[in-house]
């Protein structure tokens, strides 16, 4: 493709936030969480595929994955899902132009779009944190 910009920074080009602030790091974390969820999802398709061999095979598979290590891994996936989902809602709202305010003249004191959408970012992070705490309580304190 012609006229496209080269990513000279490689992986750091999309991992690092540089001077672009919190939203840029949230974006990098969104991608990392997405990659983790995708890796889990592919394994999940094969694990749940054991249902096809009947209930006994399912019970054996679940017994194999009931160790503390896998439980911890499952909880990490839940955390990644909670973050990716709530931050994803924020990204869709911003993508569609909601909650970023109206454009205006660059008059002092400057009010740029990143600042205008900061309350949405904070609200999304608080909701994600609440979901993570509820999930943690369920995983480690309520589950028998």
């Amino acid at each position: 493709m012609q006229n496209r910009l080269e990513n000279r920074l490689g992986l750091w080009g999309w991992l690092g936030g540089g001077r672009y602030g919190l939203e840029r790091y949230a974006y990098a974390l969104h991608r990392l969480a997405g990659l983790g969820i995708l890796a889990y999802f592919v394994m999940h398709i094969f694990v749940t595929g054991s249902r096809a061999a009947g209930p006994e095979r399912w019970e054996t598979t679940m017994a194999f994955f009931s160790t503390p290590l896998f439980k911890m891994g499952e909880f990490l996936v839940f955390l990644a899902f909670a973050y990716h989902a709530i931050n994803g809602i924020r990204l869709i709202l911003v993508e569609l132009g909601y909650m970023i305010g109206k454009p205006g003249l660059p008059a002092y004191p400057y009010n740029y779009s990143t600042l205008r959408q900061r309350p949405l970012f904070v609200a999304a992070m608080v909701i994600a944190a609440v979901l993570m705490i509820i999930g943690g309580a369920d995983f480690y304190f309520l589950m028998k």
Partner: protein, 123 residues
Amino acid sequence: MRESKLWSWHILTAVIILVLLGVHMTTMHLGALLSTAGIGSGDPTQSAEVFHRSQQFIYMIGYILLLGAALFHGLYGLRSMLFELSLSRVSEKVIGGLCAVAGIALFIYGSYVAILVFRMKGV
């Protein structure tokens, strides 16, 4: 398919996933909280509960829809990330093709399992 159309599908599948995976996550990972509220047994991975859910038409359709939406959303996301590394046109074609083949193969396998378990009798 044009990139803008693929991107629109990426957002549309995100909304589908949000609803279906939200229900799935609540059922599977907040089971203890739900049982406290009198819904479910508290262990949604018990084979009786798993097969009971899988043999309901609405769940089978939901699983297949979620499978397709999640595979497209995830693999398109992965493809986009890799494309940002300034790869050659040939590499992009190969990655795009691999993502498409992997997505179709996983969708066929997952759908086959969902339909097979739905049709199981006496389980």
